[in-house]
Symmetry: D2
Subunit: 334 residues, 4 copies
Amino acid sequence: LISVGIIGGTGYTGKYLIKFLQKHKNVYAFDVYGKNNAGKKLYDLFPSFQGFVENKTVLPVNDISFEHQIYFVSLPHGESMNLIPALLNKNKKVIDLGGDFRLDDKELYDKWYGFEHKFPEYLKLKQYGLADINGSLLKEADFIANPGCYPTSVLLGLYPLIKNFNDQVKNISVVSYSGTSGAGKKARADLLFSEMFGNVKAYSVNKHRHQPEIEQELKKIGFNGDLSFTTHLLPVERGIYSTITVYLENEADKDEIISEYEKQYNESEFIRLRKTPPELKWVVETNYCDINVSVRNNSVIITSALDNLIKGAAGQAVQNLNNIYGWNSSTGLK
Amino acid sequence: LISVGIIGGTGYTGKYLIKFLQKHKNVYAFDVYGKNNAGKKLYDLFPSFQGFVENKTVLPVNDISFEHQIYFVSLPHGESMNLIPALLNKNKKVIDLGGDFRLDDKELYDKWYGFEHKFPEYLKLKQYGLADINGSLLKEADFIANPGCYPTSVLLGLYPLIKNFNDQVKNISVVSYSGTSGAGKKARADLLFSEMFGNVKAYSVNKHRHQPEIEQELKKIGFNGDLSFTTHLLPVERGIYSTITVYLENEADKDEIISEYEKQYNESEFIRLRKTPPELKWVVETNYCDINVSVRNNSVIITSALDNLIKGAAGQAVQNLNNIYGWNSSTGLK
Amino acid sequence: LISVGIIGGTGYTGKYLIKFLQKHKNVYAFDVYGKNNAGKKLYDLFPSFQGFVENKTVLPVNDISFEHQIYFVSLPHGESMNLIPALLNKNKKVIDLGGDFRLDDKELYDKWYGFEHKFPEYLKLKQYGLADINGSLLKEADFIANPGCYPTSVLLGLYPLIKNFNDQVKNISVVSYSGTSGAGKKARADLLFSEMFGNVKAYSVNKHRHQPEIEQELKKIGFNGDLSFTTHLLPVERGIYSTITVYLENEADKDEIISEYEKQYNESEFIRLRKTPPELKWVVETNYCDINVSVRNNSVIITSALDNLIKGAAGQAVQNLNNIYGWNSSTGLK
Amino acid sequence: LISVGIIGGTGYTGKYLIKFLQKHKNVYAFDVYGKNNAGKKLYDLFPSFQGFVENKTVLPVNDISFEHQIYFVSLPHGESMNLIPALLNKNKKVIDLGGDFRLDDKELYDKWYGFEHKFPEYLKLKQYGLADINGSLLKEADFIANPGCYPTSVLLGLYPLIKNFNDQVKNISVVSYSGTSGAGKKARADLLFSEMFGNVKAYSVNKHRHQPEIEQELKKIGFNGDLSFTTHLLPVERGIYSTITVYLENEADKDEIISEYEKQYNESEFIRLRKTPPELKWVVETNYCDINVSVRNNSVIITSALDNLIKGAAGQAVQNLNNIYGWNSSTGLK
C-alpha cells in the first residue's frame, strides 16, 4: 500500500486523478495540492464528488510535504519543471502529466514550447510512459513523463504499422479533433460555450507542441519521414478522434497489417481493435483507446478514439502507477 | 434617412445591431463605438461579417461625436447610466439596450442592481419599449429603454391574459430558460464550453434583476399579486423559452382566453400564436416571439419562445427605431 | 446470491441495468431478453461494453425461462402488462420499469394511457418503489412498480414539504426538462440530432402520463389540490431538471422548511441537499438526486436534478433490488 | 422574370431552396413538389416559415406540370434519374441537387452507387456546376449537376493548387467532417439526438460516393494520383470542415502558392481566403466557403469550411441559377 500526492489536482485532469486514486485498492491515502484553490474543500470545487470522495482540503502547492511515496504532477507548462527536480532529489517517484519533460532534446523546448529548459539534465532521466506499449519497461521507474493526449491517440494508432512496415511508409498525415476540456478550466473568451456551440476550428496548424513528441517517439522505432499533424477543436467536452492516413510504397496487404495490430494489442487490456471505425462515445469516460485500420490500394487509414482526460491523461497516469509497482494494469481504472 | 451611432457595439448584441442597421434602408450611415476594442476593424472582431458588412474601425467610446441623430447604447450595467444623460442633453435620441433606465423607481436599483442610481431624474423620461405592445406610443420618442430579454418573453406571453382577466388571477409562476449568449462575451470559467456542455442550472433564484422589471410592467395593467420568476441556463447559444403557469380563481374558458390573444396580436407582425407549444428553433435568428396558450381546469400554461439577441435585444431595438420614425415595423428586420 | 432476468434489456435503460447488475456483488448470473434484438451479442448492441461486460447472446422475450429469482422488466407501455402476471404466478419477483402498473386506479389508464387495463387486479399487488422514501417498506416485496423518471424527480423534491406543510399549500407548478434519452432508442424523425440540436420544446402539455402518477403519490400524503405539470425536451442526452414552485397560504419560514428536508434525507445515501440550485452535470451518470430549496415570501422554489436513465430508471430499480433483499442501498451502484 | 419548380422540396435542402427562391428578385412564382408531404401546407412542414414565406400547398411529385422554365430537383439517389430526362425532353432547364448525374462514367455508378444507370446518355449532357470555378461556362446551360457538399468543400480548397502545381503533387489526404443534416430528415436510430450527442465517428471509409466525384473533377485539371478521402459525422446540425494535406515533391513556396489562390478567387464573391484556419461558425447560414492555406516544408495543409445545406446544396444551386441567366452571382443569396 502506498500514499500519493496529487499536485495541481483541481483542474479537469486532477479531478480524474482524485476519482481513480480514491478508489484504488493499493492507495491508502492521498493529498491534493493546488495553487489558486488551496484552502478549498474538494466538495466545493467538485460538487459531483459529494458523498463518494473524501472531503479533503486542498493544500498549498508551495508547501508540499514529502511524506508520500509518489507524486502525480498536473501543472501548466513551465511550472512542473521547477518542482519535479526537488521531488526526485528527495527520492520521490514522479509521474508528470505535463509536457515539461516529455521531449528528450532541450533544443525542442526553445523551438516548440518557447522557453529555455532549466533542468535539461532531467530530460534523460524520465521514461516516456506510453503505458500500453512500454508498460513492462516502466516497472520500478522513478520518473515517468505521461504522454500528451494527442500523441497517445496517434502513437497507439501507428505503432504496429511503423514497427513492422516502416520501410514501406512514404508519408503520414494526421488529422486530430479534440473536445474542449483539453484546453483546461481557465476562463477564456474563445472557449465560451457561446463561441464553441456548433463550431469547429483547426488551430496551432504546424505549431502544435505534440508534433515533436509524436516525431520523437516514432523515430525510436525507425520512422524519420514526413508527418503532418493538424489539430482541431470539437464542440464536445470530452474525447480525441484521430484520423491517420499513411501512404505506402506499394499496395498494402490488409490481412498482414491487421494481424500485426492483433499481435501487438492481443494482451493490452485497454486497446480495443474494432472492425468498423470507432465512435467517440464508446470510449468517453473510459481508459480505452479504440482503433480501426482500413486499407485501400497503397493507403492505410487508421482511426483512433480515446478520452483525453482519462486515457489521454489521468487514466494512463494511473495505469503507469500500476506499471511501476507491478500491479494489474487496470487496478483502480474499471 | 438617418445616421446612427452604436455604442458598445462589439459584443453579441452589438453584432446584430450592426447587421440589421447596415442593411436598414433608412439608415445611410453608422458608427460603432467600443471600449476595449476601439481601433479594431469589424472584420477582425466579426470574421463572419467579411464581404457583406462595411469594414469600419471601432471608435473609442469616450470620444463620441454627436453627429448622429440616434444612438443605440449596449453597455454593461452601470455604464450607460453615465453616458446617456449627455446624449439626451445634446438632443440626441437614445435607445438603451441595458437595464440602467428600465425601472421607474430609484429604490429598486439599490435593491436589485446593487448600485445607487446617479441620474434618477432620467428614469421618468424614458419610455419602456415593449415594441409589440406599446409600439404606437413610441412614435417620436426621444429615449427608449429597450426591455430585457426575459421580460420581453414573459410580458408578451402574459399581456392579453392580465389585461383581460386580471381579476381572476391567483398567482403566477414563471420558469425561464436562456441560452448562454445572454451572459455576453466576457471570459468566465463557469461559462466555458466544457462546463456548460450537457449541463443545465437554475441561477439567481429570487434575485434576478428582470423580476422587478416584469412586476413593474404587469402592475401598469393591474396585476399586483404573487409572481415567482426562476431563470436557468440552457446548453444552447441562443434563445429564451419561458413557461408561465397562471392559476385562476375559477375554471378557465379556453376559447375566450385564446380569442383575447388573437385580438391583441392580430396586427403584430412579430408575434406568432401557435396551436402547439413553440420550438426554440422556430424563432432563433429571427425577431419573432412565438406563443402558445394551453388551458386545464383553472390553470393556464403559456409557452413563449424568442431569440434573446434579436427579439430580446437588437431586433426589438431596431423595431423601436422603426416605431420612433413611423416606419414599417419590420424594416431592416426580415 | 441471486440470478436475475432482464427483459427488454437492449434499450437505453436496459443498458444500465446490465452495467449495474453485471458488477453487483450479490448477483451471480443474469440473462438478457429482447424482442427485436434476440440472437444478437451484447458487444454488437453496445460496443462500449466490450472488455468489461460478459458478451452474452440476447434471448427471445417470448421464450423466457423461469430460472431466475427476480425479473427486471423494461418494455414499452402496454407490453409488460401482458408478461408480468405470468411471472408473478410462477412466484417470481418482478421490478417493472414501465408504467403499466404504477397507477392504482384502472380508470386512469383509460384516460391517460389510452388503453383498457387487462389485469387491473394486479394494480393493487404492486408496491410503488420510490426507493429513497419507502425503501424500508419494500423489504421482501414481490412486485415493485419502479417510478417514472419525472415523478421521481418531482416527488423527491416535494415530499418533505407536502408531508410537513400540506395544510399551507395553495397550489403547485412543476416545470420539468428532460434529455432526449427519455424517449428511448426508436427511430423518430422529430428526435433526430438535426432536429433537436440547439432546440427546446414543451410537449404533452396537460397530457403527460406522469401527471396522474405524481398526483396519486402526493395524495397519499395529503395533497389533493392544484398541480400543473409541464414537460420539455432539452438538447442533452441525459438528465431531468425540475423546477417546482409552491405557493403557500402564508409567509414561509425557510429554516423550518429546510430542516424538514434535512430530517427526511439525512440517512438517504442518494439524496444530496444543496445550498445552491444543482447543476445537471453533478448527477449525470450517477444515482443521485440533488435538491435545492429556496424561499421568498410565500413561495417555495425547489430545484431537483437527476439522471433519467439511472436514478429515474435503472439505478432506482437496482436500489429497489437492494431494498427487497435488505442489502446495502448502494450495492452495485457506486 | 422566371418561374421555378422545386421538386423534392420538403427536406432540409428544399427548405433553403424555398427560402432563397421566395425572395429572389427575378423569380416571380414557384411551386413545391413532394412525395410523402404532398397536400401539406408549407407552414405545417416548416413552422419557422410562418409570416414570411407564402403558405403554399405541396403538390404531388408524380403530377408535375411543365409550366415552369426551370426545375430544381432534390430527390434521393436513384429517383431524380427517372424524372430528369422527361423534364429535359420538354425543354425545361434542370438543376439537379442529387448525385444521379454528377459522374461522367456510367461504370462508376455500378461501383460506387450500387445501381445501373438507366439513362447514361444524359450523363454527358449535364454540366458540373462548381459555381465559383466554372460559373462563366454555365451561362445558358440547360442541365446542371450541382456538386456534392463534400466535393464542393474539397474542390474549392484544392483547385488553385492542383491547377498550378500539379506536377509537384505526391499525394493527397482529405479528412472531412460534416454536421448531421447532410444525412437528411429521415428517421434513423443511429442519427437520434441521443446517439450523436457528444459523439463523432468516421463512416463510409473508402466507400463514400463523393470520392469518385472529387477524383473525376481533379482529373480534368491534371491530377491522377493518390487521393484518400475519409468522412466523419460531427455533433452539429450544419457545416462541413475539410482538412486537406498535400505532399509535394519539393519544399513549397508559400507566397507563390497563396498568390495563386488569390488570383483564382479574387473575383469570387463567395470564397473568402483567410489568414487563419476558418471557424465553422463563420460560414453557417451563409453561401460562403472560407479557405486557409498553410505550408510547412513540403506539405500544404488546406482547411475549408462551408454550410452543407447552402454552399454545399441550395445556395450553390441558386448561384447556378444566377449563372445560367447571367444574373449577379449573389442575387437572392445575401
